[in-house]
């Protein structure tokens, strides 16, 4: 097995990791918003569900492109790894696709339907909103080794083992709570800008409950990782200072929710600060995880070198990444200004 990792391969895995990170954050907000709009749907007097929908409507499409970007980056940059992952992930991958299709479809339909159907449809997107991330995240522990077997050059996944692993379940729990946590935080920030007191309080409270729960799940992950994928645990622990900074950021976010609000005296908390702190926290934690995972894409068979694409193709792709970024950046900025910043949109009555 080739073990010397080239710079090209490192850049490639960083790009892939970048997409995964962005998708993880955006999708958590997206799935969580769907979940909250389901929970608060029946409370006519609060604006909480409205706020969630307002965030959800324009963003899901852009968020969805990131899934495609991940799949494409995976097979363009690491075709060898795709061969194995594509083979073993047929079942879980298909389940995710089926749920995504139902969710996206009905999410869009719900805006055009009468009230009585809208409820059923909101349930579909709300419930799938926390099942999808819990299945998606299973891909991580699957790559830690012990679940993929090879016989006569045919790879297969032992689903029985996957569903009896404590580590897998801690990842699932983490996915659910951090989805709810991230989205509560973001929606709290959104309601703060929209000047909706009641929705703000609801989402702030949501964040205060789900935050500690997701932290607890993160500890469970480490605990079970130690016994189930010790190689990864040991390597993560080599970066303990960064993990501690990450924990500090989490505490800072918690603190931010209790600081006095800068603009409105009667409101407690600075949600924008909390969102930023948590994003940094996730960034640091996933950096440590990703760094420790290298050079393996799927332990122990596939490294970033064994799955890497042809160097010529990589260079051509890399150029398109740069050009694409330059072209798209103004578009993203415009989008953000129109939907995340423009108070006319956020405060609009519907």
């Amino acid at each position: 097995m080739q073990m010397d990792v080239t710079t090209d391969a490192l850049i490639a895995i960083t790009i892939l990791w970048g997409f995964v990170f962005i998708y993880a954050v955006m999708a958590s907000m997206d799935f969580g918003a769907g979940f909250w709009s389901m929970i608060y749907m029946n409370k006519e007097q609060t604006k909480a569900a409205n706020i969630a929908n307002k965030y959800l409507s324009p963003t899901w499409e852009v968020t969805n492109v990131f899934i495609v970007a991940i799949v494409v980056a995976l097979f363009s940059l690491f075709p060898g790894a795709t061969f194995v992952l594509g083979t073993v992930l047929l079942i879980p991958g298909s389940i995710i696709l089926l749920l995504l299709a139902l969710r996206s479809g009905f999410l869009v339909f719900s805006h055009s339907l009468p009230k009585k159907y809208r409820k059923a449809v909101t349930y579909i997107s709300g419930i799938s909103g926390f099942i999808i991330p819990s299945i998606l995240i299973m891909v991580l522990p699957i790559t830690h080794g012990g679940f993929i077997f090879q016989e006569n050059n045919v790879y297969s996944l032992d689903l029985g083992l996957v569903f009896t692993s404590a580590n897998v379940y801690s990842f699932v729990g983490f996915a659910i709570f951090s989805t709810l946590f991230l989205s509560s935080l973001l929606l709290a920030d959104f309601s703060n800008v929209a000047n909706e007191d009641e929705a703000y309080n609801i989402y702030r409270r949501g964040a205060l409950i789900t935050g500690p729960l997701s932290l607890m799940m993160a500890f469970f992950i480490m605990l079970t990782l130690r016994s189930e994928a010790n190689w990864l645990f040991t390597k993560m622990m080599q970066n303990i200072p960064i993990l501690l900074v990450s924990l500090l950021m989490f505490l800072l976010a918690g603190l931010a929710l209790f600081l006095p609000n800068s603009r409105f005296k009667h409101r407690k908390g600075r949600p924008r600060l909390a969102v930023i702190a948590i994003t940094i926290q996730y960034f640091l934690a996933s950096y440590v995880y990703g760094h420790a995972h290298l050079p393996y894409m799927a332990y122990p068979d596939i490294t970033i070198m064994s799955g890497f694409t042809d160097p010529v193709t990589f260079r051509a792709l890399f150029i398109t990444y740069i050009v694409g970024f330059i072209i798209l950046f103004p578009g993203f900025y415009f989008f953000w200004k129109l939907f995340m910043k423009d108070k006319r949109y956020i405060r609009q009555e519907d």
Binding site: S57, P58, T59, E61, V62, N64, V65, V68, A69, V71, V72, A73, F75, S76, L77, P79, G80, T82, F83, V84, L85, G86, T87, V88, L89, L90, I91, G93, S94, L97, L98, L100, A101, L102, G105, F106, V108, F109, S112, L113, P114, V154, Y155, S156, T309, D310, V312, T313, A316, L317, T320, G324, I327, G331, F335, L338, F339, D342, R344, Y345
Partner: protein, 443 residues
């Protein structure tokens, strides 16, 4: 059934479903753009209402186009891992660039749908232009991968190893331009004829209400003119596609025409069924010499017959019917548009006869059918190859099993989404009637 057959059926079903929404996703934004432009020029509020209503419909269609596209993209890797390993190494550029096209589409479509009221007219038009560009570029780029499968370039296979990779040479493979053009033109055709079909349907129902009838007549005429123009261009370009087959995939052309013996002055067979045992087409109308002329612009052109190829590399023979279906529909569509021109510009009629409207009712469904025929012809006609004369489909299929169950599950989900689209669209447009829109613009 073997896993190979099941995987093909599953992937073919996914694509067959996606392409309905995808083609409309390319065609309808063009119609929205045209309506916006006509509105800015004439200030006729009818066109503003059209743009608004088509946008609403397009937003609903996107709700299925995007997830099914996501399924298509992921299924390529899940069902054909061996294929994607090669594509990843050689032909990943179009996929990568397509992501940017998707972003452009997604960003500007969301802006157009959710922020149109906050944009100036000029910004609105620029936004729709970006939507059209994004959608058309998605279609062009994904079609490029399909073109590459038929006319691979930019790499060599030496003892099963891929070497000498030149990604841009693969990108500009011989059939890229012609094939991608064909797909975009046919999508524009389809979007326009679907709009015309809906308008014709409404005209049949509003014959008594002059105001509504006029509204729909404008939509019908716009649809037919645009559709007519693009179906004409589609046919011209389709002729080029056929010439490319003659050059690069002769057994596919032979299959499409049911030609067994290599010959000059080859006849063109329309209709009928190819019989492999007797080596002839049953029940076809033959136009002498025409195939030779079509293939190479001269009657002396020698067209290769199926017997020149090993039997196990023959494409399935029913592609003859698919090809015929596409070409016949293409010709019909051109005829439909000319008929409308005749009525409106030569006879100067404001009302169309009922039979004509009934005819137009079929334009949209027929063009969608032509797209399905064309694709199944193109993909199935490539069999047994997934990359022509390089890689066989049977070598790249997944080894995971349980595809049958997945096939059923996906089929059910497509069925649900398909039915839901129809229900949602009918419900929405019934509730938000044109009268209401007209009243809103008048006040």
């Amino acid at each position: 059934m073997t896993d190979l057959v099941l995987a093909r059926s599953l992937f073919g079903t996914t694509m067959g479903f996606h392409i309905i929404y995808a083609s409309l996703g390319v065609g309808i934004p063009l119609m929205i753009l045209l309506a916006e432009l006509i509105f800015q020029k004439t200030k006729d509020p009818h066109y503003a209402i059209m743009a608004k209503r088509w946008t609403k419909a397009q937003a609903v269609l996107l709700g299925v186009a995007i997830p099914t596209g996501t399924i298509a993209g992921t299924q390529l890797a899940l069902l054909w891992p061996g294929f994607m390993e090669v594509i990843g190494k050689v032909m990943s550029l179009p996929f990568q660039i397509e992501i940017y096209a998707f972003f452009i589409e997604a960003l500007f479509m969301s802006i157009y749908v959710y922020a149109a009221d906050r944009l100036s007219p000029a910004m609105r038009i620029i936004t729709v232009i970006f939507v059209v560009i994004g959608a058309a570029a998605s279609a062009i780029l994904i079609t490029n991968v399909h073109a590459f499968e038929g006319t691979p370039a930019g790499f060599q296979m030496v003892n099963g190893e891929i070497t000498n990779i030149e990604p841009w040479k693969a990108f500009f493979n011989p059939s890229f331009v012609v094939t991608a053009t064909h797909v975009v033109l046919s999508a524009f055709t389809t979007g326009a004829f679907v709009i015309a079909s809906v308008a014709a349907f409404k005209m049949l129902k509003t014959r008594k209400n002059e105001k509504l009838y006029t509204f729909h007549r404008k939509a019908l005429f716009l649809g037919l003119i645009v559709g007519g123009l693009f179906s004409f261009l589609t046919a011209l370009n389709g002729h080029e596609s056929a010439q490319l087959l003659y050059e690069y995939q002769p057994e596919k052309l032979a299959g499409a025409e049911g030609l067994f013996e290599t010959q000059s002055h080859a006849p063109l067979a329309i209709g009928g069924f190819t019989d492999a045992n007797t080596q002839e087409i049953k029940g076809a109308i033959e136009i002498p010499w025409a195939l030779s002329f079509l293939a190479g612009n001269s009657f002396d052109t020698v067209v290769k017959g199926l017997n020149d190829f090993p039997r196990d590399e023959w494409p399935p023979l029913f592609i003859h019917t698919l090809f015929n279906g596409m070409v016949i529909i293409g010709s019909l569509l051109i005829f439909f548009a000319m008929l409308a021109l005749f009525y409106r510009k030569i006879l100067k009629r404001d009302h169309y006869p009922k039979w004509l409207l009934v005819l137009y009712l079929f334009g949209g469904p027929l063009s969608l059918l032509a797209i399905e025929f064309g694709w199944i012809f193109a993909c199935t006609g490539r069999q047994p190859w997934v990359i022509y004369r390089m890689l066989k489909t049977s070598e790249v299929v997944t080894s995971s099993g349980s595809i049958g169950t997945l096939f059923i599950l996906f089929a059910i989900v497509y069925l649900i989404l398909g039915i839901a689209t129809v229900i949602v669209l009918t419900y929405y447009f019934r509730k938000h009637s044109i009268e209401e829109d007209l009243r809103l613009t008048e006040s």
